[in-house]
Amino acid sequence: MNDGVLLDVRNLDVFIGESHILQNVSFQVREGGITGLLGRNGVGKTTTLRGILGLVRRTGSVTLAGDELTALDVPQVVRRGVGYVPEDRDVFGGLTVDENLRLAERPGSPLRYELVYDLFPELRTRGAQRAGTLSGGQQQMVALARALLNADNRILLIDEPTKGLAPLVVGLVTNALKRAAEVATILLVEQNLAVAHKLVRDVIVLDQGQVGFIGNVEQLMGDPALARKHLGVAHG
């Protein structure tokens, strides 16, 4: 294992039906902080997260702290310390907030209820409410809380956590992600470049299913031509 590298993705290929979605994708995520996985719509960012987790069939190699994950099924990958917050939150609408959190508890893992309720005090007061009746922002809190709850999660794969949220809630989620990065490494897919700029240190940019750029966020955002080339927009 390379020094400081927590997640190592090598030659990842994903086919969905006839489409070759990810083509020979390779990158590394350093331990600690937030690494951004950026790119235009439809370039394969969500598929990359799903590929790491094993939710889609993939070839190549994915190692977490040197442990190969590709031969494992999804629950086994997660139990190695991978938390996941999907793009559409996927909270269990028929279950209460408390039940959503209880379901996320992993036997043997220390639990961070204090941190979760400190970040999202609303979840404590809405514990008995069905998650399906929550607002989008509140559902995002539940989704993030589920991933943060298990203290043995080494990396959190978080997919567009600010998508469709009101500006006030975006601020709340941004702060929560900053705090979360103090206790776990985060691989973050984010379309909101202002949020990404605030949070991430390293960036990986996907372009049509392939890695287009790997480097520092300042390199990318500070170079309008580079940002326009890979993201289709220059971040001011």
Binding site: L53, L55, P75, G93, L103, A104, R106
Partner: protein
């Protein structure tokens, strides 16, 4: 008045049997998206296993014989269902047509085997005296078996709700019915829940097989399939994946059948149930407990 009471309780008894079959079907579909046409075979095999066990005991120990048949029926139903899931269904999870073919094939083969072994004529069941007697309720002489079936189904409903609401596996099943992939993404091995749900469904179907034998006084190879059709209707009306919805729908279907078959003409109740299904699908496609869209 006495006729209404008799029809109501007999209808509830029939609904109770439908519920016992439908509850397992509904959970299996809701969690695993498996349309299990072999569920009637669990019912039939359990009923015959219970009968064989009962026949092996002393003729005058009628309560013992019935209780043993009940336990054997439940255990055989659970075992048959567990083996079906692990051997036949598990390799076919992503292949729905394969699942339908294998469960239909298993159902047909099972009926043929039972007919081959025991013949196609109904077999009379030896029951304790209390179960062949009646109890006076609201002026009607209600067969005790109806009351027994209703009481046991109510107990099963309570146990299932306790399991679903109060246990971790129940929580996993409820979550899995909503979004199986996300349950796995929380690190939970859904496979164990699949097997457990199949086993629970088999137990309930086995119980229904033995109780139906007491309800009708006989067993025959085709009854499981006949009841399965109405149990499927109950599942769809109640809402796929909802035990409470199945319970409500089972009561409605049982009552509609009994009252219309008596007051209109034999067979009208069965037809009315089909119309009821069509009406629910038009107005509320997700069923009574599902979404309205």
């Amino acid at each position: 008045m006495s006729t209404v009471a008799l029809l109501a309780i007999t209808g509830l008894g029939l609904g109770a049997l439908y519920f016992l079959i439908a509850a397992g079907l509904s959970l299996i579909w809701g969690l695993m998206r498996v349309l299990n046409f072999a569920h009637g075979a669990f019912f039939t095999v359990a009923a015959y296993a219970g009968w064989v066990a009962s026949e092996a005991l002393p003729a005058d120990a009628l309560w013992l014989r019935w209780l043993v048949s009940l336990v054997v029926g439940i255990v055989v139903g659970a075992l048959f269902a567990t083996l079906t899931e692990t051997i036949l269904i598990r390799p076919l999870y992503a292949r729905h047509i394969g699942q339908v073919l294998v469960t239909v094939g298993l159902a047909l083969a099972t009926i043929a085997l039972v007919e081959g072994g025991f013949g196609s004529d109904p077999r009379k069941i030896a029951l304790p005296e209390w179960m062949t007697a009646t109890t006076k309720l609201a002026g009607a002489a209600i067969p005790n078996t109806r009351l027994l079936v209703i009481a046991i189904a109510a107990l099963v409903l309570a146990l299932l709700l306790y399991f679903l609401q109060r246990t971790r596996y129940g929580l996993i099943v409820r979550a899995g019915v909503e979004n199986r992939a996300m349950v796995m993404a929380l690190g939970i091995d859904v496979q164990k829940a699949f097997t457990l749900v199949f086993a629970i469904g088999g137990m309930a179907a086995g119980l229904a097989g033995v109780l139906a034998a007491a309800y009708y006084g006989t067993i025959d190879p085709g009854r499981g399939t006949a009841m399965l059709i109405f149990a499927f209707i109950v599942v769809v009306i109640g809402g796929l994946g909802s035990v409470t919805g199945s319970a409500i729908a089972a009561v409605i279907v049982g009552l509609v059948q009994q009252f219309l078959n008596f007051y209109a003409a034999a067979g009208v109740g069965d037809f009315a149930v089909i119309l009821l299904l069509a009406g629910v699908l038009l107005v509320r496609p997700g069923g009574l407990a599902g979404s309205s869209t």
